[in-house]
Symmetry: C2
Subunit: 225 residues, 2 copies
DNA sequence: ACCCTGGTTTGACTTTAGTCATGGAACGCG
DNA sequence: CGCGTTCCATGACTAAAGTCAAACCAGGGT
């Protein structure tokens, strides 16, 4: 049981939760190992558990019949996902797949709701988490609808730059996945990178990108359609 | 004070809330009258209140510098909105504007959080509400990224059809607003309506649309890019 | 060292949707 | 009863991004 407890303790959402409650969560927790490419669940399936990443990386996405995919989120260690069906008791709104070999915990809906009733602070934490997700989606919707690909790319690079705190970025995902996150396809992403390079805003080599002119990037990212 | 209480009682989110708690909410509630076109708040402003619609209609949207707008949601009587900054304590992620003369209530963040601590069932209701919103956004993102305008339109018409429970639909918004909701512009919406009409799926006259071939519409809405 | 594979880039082309401009229909107001 | 404002439809054009196909490159395994 100790492994489960340690796994739960590493989840951001559960920071500050009294040990007693953590232990009661252990009882409804399952550790899960998945390999790269493995699908955790598909959009439309009934969802009775939610997940958190102990180690590894998972992407949440929707796909069209044609095969094109739109990534909604990428989750790493300490992050939880697939909360929606817990509170709605319906289906998963999107699909999830491991981007790397990963260790996950899955937590049953029912028991979790009980803990929420007893722990208002955790409940507030969940609300804040969901709100943050909403904010991110609002941004993503606005980007998809109001901005063109190079502008979305500029915004993404600036986010990476802020996260990595350097101008010498390492792309955190393969380019095809970044394309799917930006709502486009690899060919178009490739051309957008070329365009930014030609304009002297960045330099690229492999999965590394150097930000040359952050201000111009920011200005570009601001622009609207 | 009675008017405030009656207004609060009509909000879906507060259904089933004990009277005592409703009354404690009254103290942090403000009734607000707005005229058509009036802006309630703009994306980026610090948000310390959330709102509910007593009567009228409000749209929540993001706009690009160019003037193009993307509608995220349209709220009618009984619905609440702008919860995000309550739980995150930051800015409004989008702007809100009255589509009709409306009566709203605004509820202060701080007091509301206190009530949430005392009322786990309300807290669960909020989580369900936020989850439903997330689900809707996931759908919207998928539509924007994976479907073309006529397909999005088909999906929208089917939703209207389900809501109005008839094949003889009345558009609930001016077409320009529907365009902004679908992530396009009026001209393109106009052409999409024509296309569906030419294909014999619908007939239109003014703000009325008759669904002729619901099955074909559904099939179209399924299609992906 | 070689081959295979998957990811990436590039080019030519097509399609979709946005832009701009114009005209028409409907509604409200004097 | 007209007048104007707003909304909507249409046409001609442009621009953005997707499709298809081919070449390229890099790494892992043999």
């Amino acid at each position: 049981m100790t492994r489960e407890l340690k796994a739960l303790a590493g989840i951001k959402l559960f920071e500050g939760l009294p040990k007693a409650q953590l232990e009661s969560l252990v009882e409804i927790t399952l550790l899960k190992q998945v390999k790269v490419g493995e699908t955790l669940f598909e959009a439309g399936q009934p969802g009775t558990h939610f997940y958190a990443v102990v180690s590894g990386k998972v992407r949440v996405y929707r796909s069209a019949p044609s095969g094109k995919e739109q990534i909604l989120n990428v989750f790493g260690a300490g992050e939880s996902f697939a909360e929606v069906p817990v509170f709605e008791g319906k289906t998963y709104p999107a699909s999830a797949q491991a981007l790397e070999d990963s260790v996950l915990v899955s937590i049953a809906r029912k028991g979790f709701v009980d803990v929420l009733r007893r722990e208002p602070e955790l409940a507030l934490g969940v609300m804040a988490l969901l709100s943050g997700r909403l904010r991110a989606f609002v941004t993503q919707i606005a980007q998809l609808s109001l901005k063109e690909v190079p502008e979305r790319l500029a915004g993404y690079l600036l986010l990476l730059r802020a996260a990595q705190n350097t101008d010498a970025l390492t792309l955190d995902l393969p380019k095809g996945q970044i394309a799917a996150y930006l709502g486009t396809i690899p060919e178009t992403l490739s051309r957008a990178l070329k365009k930014l390079t030609d304009q002297g805003l960045i330099e690229t080599s492999g999965n590394r990108v150097r930000v040359i002119d952050a201000e111009a990037l920011a200005h570009l990212a601001e622009a609207g359609r």
